[in-house]
Amino acid sequence: MSHHLMSRRRLLATGGGLSLAALLAACSDDSPKSQATGGAQSAGALALSLLLPGDVPAGWDAVLAEVNKKLQADLGFTIKPQFIPWTSYGQQALLKFTAGEKFDTALQARWLNMTQLAASGSIVELSSLLSSGKYPNLTATIDPKIIELNRWSGKLYGLPQINSVARFHHFSIRQDLADKLGMSDITDFAGLEKFWYDVKQKNKDIIPIGVSSRMPKLLVAWNPVGWLNPYMWDNPTMSIASFTGDSLNFVLAADGKQTGSSNPIPWWEAPGMVDALRKIRKYYQDGLINKNALTLDSKALDSQFKAGRVATGWAMTDGLSSTGLPELTKNVPGAMIANVMPLKGGESAKPYQTFQSDNFVVLNAKGESNEKAMQLQDWVSIKENHDLLNYGLPGKDWNPVGDDKYEQLSTYAFPGFALSWRAKLERRVKGMTESEAKWFDWAQDIDNFTVDPYAGFVPDPEPIKRENTQVTAAMTQFANPLFIGAVDVDQGLDKLKKALERAGLAKVQAEMAKQADAYLKGQ
């Protein structure tokens, strides 16, 4: 009996001990600890992690292998970028910062969470690194004027990534459809509207205006113009500011410089805004806007455009609209696109422009090595490396055409604006449409714009952090559906105002006035 008991005990003990050992082994972390910055790095061990937006480019593995081979030889480290889908990029990047992850660089911007990250000390102030003289290629390819324009209260929180002097969003339309409808040259908003209604009538299967889940906030009250706001296209001289990218936009007084008072008002109180809401509501009800705009991923919208199922897409003065043309013509033979900028007065409209970069590479304060992150920025400022990353493998993904153009051979598309845009090194795609080239050139000339009186004003969200949080939540819930026309304008606006009042609109508005007035005083 006792013998039998012993054996049972032993069995249980052994079993328990074994499973405990297994459990502890599973919990133990035997991964090699990354060493602290500045310490002696074991050669070849360091791989900088970078956050990039969008999907992994086609043929990425081969390009990355080549990039890492060269990087290892030149600088002794490699990179391992993480691609985060656009739908969640802003939020995931913010979360990775606030959770103290140790990646090195990320795409940030005012329309994302850069003001918040700068205020909380999550991103590195770059002035001393940039002026250290250790990064000659970088300083040679980024214009010092652009650096100065992108300092916030004298501090530089990111490296501006630009390929044109000014950024102005507009429309990329299916020119072949417009030609068929007898509208060969659309130059104003009324022309666009007619085009949309005609498309709706003649092509049942094509969505006239494609809107993705990233776009609602751009449609009505946005800097420099609301995308679907005809009043702003006619009067592109409104100064708009918000504490964070998804928070409430205020319109600032145009005569602030003279009076010293910025007098910020919530966007709906500014002229033309509510009319724009009503117009968009009508578009939505008439079926011009895709009904799933609040949930449609931007990548999915892009592939629908390339499949020929969308007549109008969002475009930017960055020369990238034409890069989708080969895929579109493959799916829809004879398709053609044109860029439409419906400014009243066209190229001589002189709209407001802050000359603030839309995209920055920021360095994570908790990154493995800020020095190496800067070395990487310097490395991609060398033409050969820049081309490799931006356009892919020469001969496989692209062929050079002269020194400043390239021909696409594959569908490789790298988000260069998140790591490696250098105005002086950018090549234009061969076969850029005439209309896109026209507006891209127009955006290169500073004299085509009026400097926004609040150009360098970057609000600091820290004093009203809590209220701003609530305001942002209210915007997501009530303003986005309003912006795409999914709800009744009067009811929707009423709900939005009530929610914002509860969230502390008065306090946020007062803080905006205080900071904007201080900015005016400092001018």
């Binding site: 008991l5 049972r8 005990r9 249980l12 003990a13 079993g15 328990g16 001990g17 499973s19 405990l20 297994a22 459990l23 502890l24 919990c27 969640s88 939020q91 995931q92 913010l94 979360l95 910062f97 606030t98 959770a99 103290g100 969470n113 918040q116 909380s120 000390g121 999550s122 969505i207 889940s213 998804d246 079926g287 895709n290 009904k291 799933n292 705009a293 609040l294 949930t295 449609l296 629908q304 199922r309 304060a365 908790k366 809590r466 949080t469 609530q470 942002t472 939540a473 997501t476 819930q477 009530f478 986005n480 559906p481 999914a486 709800v487 929610a499 509860r502 969230a503």
Partner: protein
């Protein structure tokens, strides 16, 4: 799932007093320490993965700053809780969470029972097996896939039309913009949940039906009961204990919105928040959009505490009404 235990018979007491009882206890400890050892890995597991992380709950009472860390951040009392309660969203979210979960719980349990009784009535073994597998299958379908199926049904692949609207059109009804109408969503989600869980629960009930002694049915036959009467008068009452246990387990999770399904379907579509926003989706959104750890931890803690209280109440009620099947 916890196993069901019938309560042990009360032990006959040893005739004399204390020393004997001590001896008994000592012997129990001596003979049972090996069994205790066997439980050790599980105890360690829960300590490491469930209890240790609870120290992070202090974040709920702090103004969290990543640069200072969890324990270095300054305390801010109950501010994180007041933020949630004053946001104006609290009442709506609590209501939605409870309302949707009660709907889900009632509908899935009822559907599971009905399905089980139906399956039980199938004569052909082969057909019974096939049907069981077919109704069980949706349980394995990912919420993301469900959300895409729903989109195609309700809004079409490109955000216009959809099979349901086509059907409505065929019947002469106007099309509905399902994805901007909050009203019907609790019911749509309930249908989704029944589709998801009905088959799964029916298998549990079937197992319980299998456990019903054959003699009871034989007695029913002798008394001249029809098949329908036997299902109604014998099977259904004998399934009650199983249903009660499933109900208690469900009530314990009543404060947990079904995050996966609801988030995959609704996402950040603000027009549907009125009727579909539950605690989990709200917390997730708050954290993603605002990166505010303090508030989200506070809401999470609130959810856990209320959930715990509800479980206890549910179990006590169940014990009162049906002692022999109590889980405690």
């Amino acid at each position: 799932m916890s196993t069901l235990q019938t309560r042990p018979e009360p032990q006959t007491r040893p005739p004399s007093g204390a020393p004997d009882r001590r001896r008994v206890r000592r012997r129990a400890v001596r003979t049972n320490w090996t069994i205790g050892l066997l439980a050790l890995p599980a105890v360690v597991f829960f300590l490491v993965f469930s209890y240790l992380p609870m120290s992070g709950l202090v974040v709920a009472f702090k103004e969290f700053d990543v640069n200072l860390g969890i324990f270095g951040s300054p305390w801010n009392g109950l501010e994180n809780f007041t933020y949630f309660l004053e946001s104006g969203d609290a009442a709506r979210i609590l209501f939605n969470t409870l309302f949707l979960n009660i709907l889900f719980l009632g509908a899935t349990l009822a559907a599971g029972m009905v399905l089980a009784i139906m399956l039980n009535e199938i004569r052909s073994t082969f057909f019974k097996r096939v049907s069981q597998s077919v109704v069980f299958f949706p349980y394995f379908v990912s919420p993301v896939v469900i959300s895409i199926i729903l989109q195609v049904l309700l809004a079409g692949a490109s955000g216009g039309g959809g099979a349901v609207n086509d059907a409505l059109g065929g019947l002469g009804f106007p099309a509905v913009d399902w994805y901007t109408e909050p009203g019907p969503w609790p019911w749509i989600l309930t249908v989704v949940k029944i589709w998801q869980l009905g088959g799964y629960l029916s298998v549990i009930f079937l197992a319980a039906i299998t456990g019903i002694p054959e003699e009871v049915y034989e007695a029913g036959t002798i008394d001249g009961a029809s098949r329908a009467q036997m299902a109604w008068r014998i099977t259904l009452p004998l399934l009650k204990p199983t249903a009660a246990v499933l109900l208690v387990l469900g009530v314990g999770r009543i404060f947990y919105g079904d995050f996966g399904t609801i988030y995959a379907i609704v996402g950040d579509n603000g027009t549907l928040f009125d009727s579909t926003d539950v605690i989990d989706t709200y917390v997730f959104r708050a954290l993603r959009q605002l990166g505010d750890f303090g508030t989200t931890a506070a809401i999470g803690l609130f959810q856990s505490v209320v959930g715990f209280v509800l479980v206890v109440i549910a179990v006590l009620i169940q014990r009162k009404y049906s002692k022999e099947t109590s889980v405690l």
